[in-house]
Amino acid sequence: MTGISRRHFTQGLGAVAGAGVLAGRGRAAFAQGRPKVVIIGGGAGGATAARYLAKDSEGALDITLIEPTKTYYTCFFSNLYIGGFRSFDSIGHSYATLASDYGVNVVHDWATGIDRDAKEVALASGGRVSYDRLVVAPGIDFDYDSVPGYSIEAAGMMPHAWKAGTQTALLKSKIEAMREGGTYVMVAPPNPYRCPPGPYERISMVAHHLKSTNSGAKIVILDPKEAFSKQALFMEGWEKHYPGMIEWLPKSIIGDIINVDARAGTIETDFDTFKADVANVIPAQTAGTIARDAGLANDSGYCPIEPATLRSTMDAAIHVLGDSCIAGDMPKSGFSANSQAKAAAMAIRADLLDAKAFPPRFSNTCWSLISTDNGVKVGARYEAGEDKIAKTDGFISQTGEDDEQRKATYEESLGWYAGITTDMFG
């Protein structure tokens, strides 16, 4: 129903633009009242951007958030659901407050394409939404071909569970139904990917679950990398809490993955063929398809941006946030996306409303749970440099920390979850 009025509005905008009023990227006269900001994707980047734009512009912007799911399940903490530390419902969030308290127009639809010339976003339902400024925060998509034999269909049998929601629930149900003494095989992703410590936290959580429910169960990690995030911390924790359960096989041992057969449950590598009772295949990742289709990505598969504003270097009317952008030294994480969203929201308000812009502040911390009350963290601060967002300093948990320290770190992560989800969804 909004489609008609949007089309109508678009014609109006087109007429004004034709008269040259909207030329340039700075402030301009807007066709009808408030400048329109459209946000694609309601995750840590998109939802935060929507909330900060709405909160800080106090009604001066017309903000539309396009997100297909009505309940958003956070990828962060989804491993804790797999480990039995969180309920599925506890990682689900609604957009109701953004709509009711912040006046964000939340459209539950798929954004299927971006017409950069017309400044319009096409929706699966057939509608089109015009924008003065677009925020693209679609997260990641998968390069299924990076694992020969893997596909969208195969993901129904060998879940990736690297986008939270039904995939997460599917993987958990498979782990719970695994035969006694069975083998869980993870195909870990190559760099760069969403949430660097995530695969290894997942292994910890799967081990935690299996240790108490499935005696004799084994876990094998087939890794296309030679090293991974927080490796010393995870290795220490696995040895202590899950001795003999977990085998990590890096590329130097397994070589390449030759084929996965989802029906047979086999993963063939240069080294050996592994028979999995539960297979968790996490393929290589790229920027969200909609961003690549719109020509916002470069050869890397991700989208280059201006460091201080997250503005696309391909299109001055578009900002790309979170996992889809090339954020320099910042890892792909919910925390990073949330941090970037605030910088982008400020830049957009400065452009459209002449609001004051301060230097952006970027930071990230990734917490991981290894076993009950045993949390670790890694984090850093970043500055917008000339060419990239550059790391200024960082920290990481130490091996050999006492139980009290680890418990405090875990509790800190619970506080962070409550904080960031409030910061995203209100």
């Binding site: 900060y52 925390f335 949330n338 941090s339 605030k342 400020m346 301060f358 502040r361 930071s363 911390t365 963290k377 984090g379 850093a380 601060r381 200024t392 300093d393 960082g394 920290f395 509790e411 800190e412 992560s413 619970l414 506080g415 962070w416 409550a418 904080g419 960031i420 409030t422 910061d423």
Partner: protein, 239 residues
């Protein structure tokens, strides 16, 4: 009127405890304490049926973490002192009573203090009768020092007037973890902190005398003016 009736009961209870053998009724220290406690009575009740009035009731105060009684609205400063580990021992009570405003900066207790150590010993002994097992209370030092244990911040830094609007912008980085509504789950609430305390704590992280690496890293990235701006902003929130 309710107050005066209540006080008759309170004093009777005190004498009951005293006469039941925990301490001799004629103990001049307790008698002196009872007299000095009159200074406190306009705000504090103690004994049977004691209730919160202007101040919280003082039954069972020994061994209790500061700022934690249900149903009483403490100053933010007192709640934070408790969160930092202040527990009411004899020494802690005595230090607080000597100079409340400097012992817990920002306390709302409007009392000039008892400078005479004998007076403090007497009133603290008097209060002790209203905590169970008074004779068995171990005399440990307070678990957290009453005076701020963080390094002193030079007065010219404490005196900086922060810009709360700039602080609001900077705060967007804080609220990724610290909940803006003051909820306190795993990560401390930072809303409504007294200005001076906020500045002192941030500088303690900056000098790495507090040890959380996330906070050390953030504090290191903030100038003195930015810390003052954040303090100005957060002191106005959550009140």
């Amino acid at each position: 009127m309710r107050g005066s009736g209540g006080w008759a009961l309170v004093l009777a209870a005190a004498f009951f405890v005293v006469s039941s053998g925990d301490a001799p009724a004629s103990d001049p220290l307790l008698e002196q304490g009872r007299k000095i406690f009159r200074k406190c009575q306009s705000c504090h009740q103690v004994g049977v049926n004691a209730k919160h009035t202007v101040g919280p009731f003082l039954n069972d105060i020994y061994g209790r973490r500061a700022g934690t009684l249900e149903g009483y609205r403490y100053s933010r400063a007192m709640e934070l002192a408790g969160q930092d580990g202040l527990v009411w021992s004899e020494d802690a009570l005595s230090a607080y009573l000597e100079d409340p405003k400097s012992a817990v900066r920002g306390t709302k207790m409007n009392f000039g203090g008892l400078r005479d150590p004998d007076d403090r010993r007497a009133v603290v002994a008097f209060l002790r009768q209203f905590s169970p097992g008074a004779a068995n209370i171990p005399e440990t030092p307070p678990t957290a020092p009453l005076k701020n244990a963080d390094p002193e911040v030079p007065s010219h830094i404490l005196a900086l007037e922060g810009d709360p609007d700039y602080g609001e912008y900077l705060s967007s980085e804080c609220v990724t973890c610290h909940q803006a509504d003051g909820e306190d789950k795993g990560i401390p609430s930072i809303t409504g902190w007294p200005n001076e305390r906020f500045v002192t704590v941030m500088h303690a992280y900056k000098s790495k005398s507090r040890d959380n690496p996330v906070m050390q890293s953030i504090a290191a990235s903030l100038s003195d003016e930015e810390i003052a701006a954040l303090a100005a902003y957060f002191s106005r929130t959550g009140q």
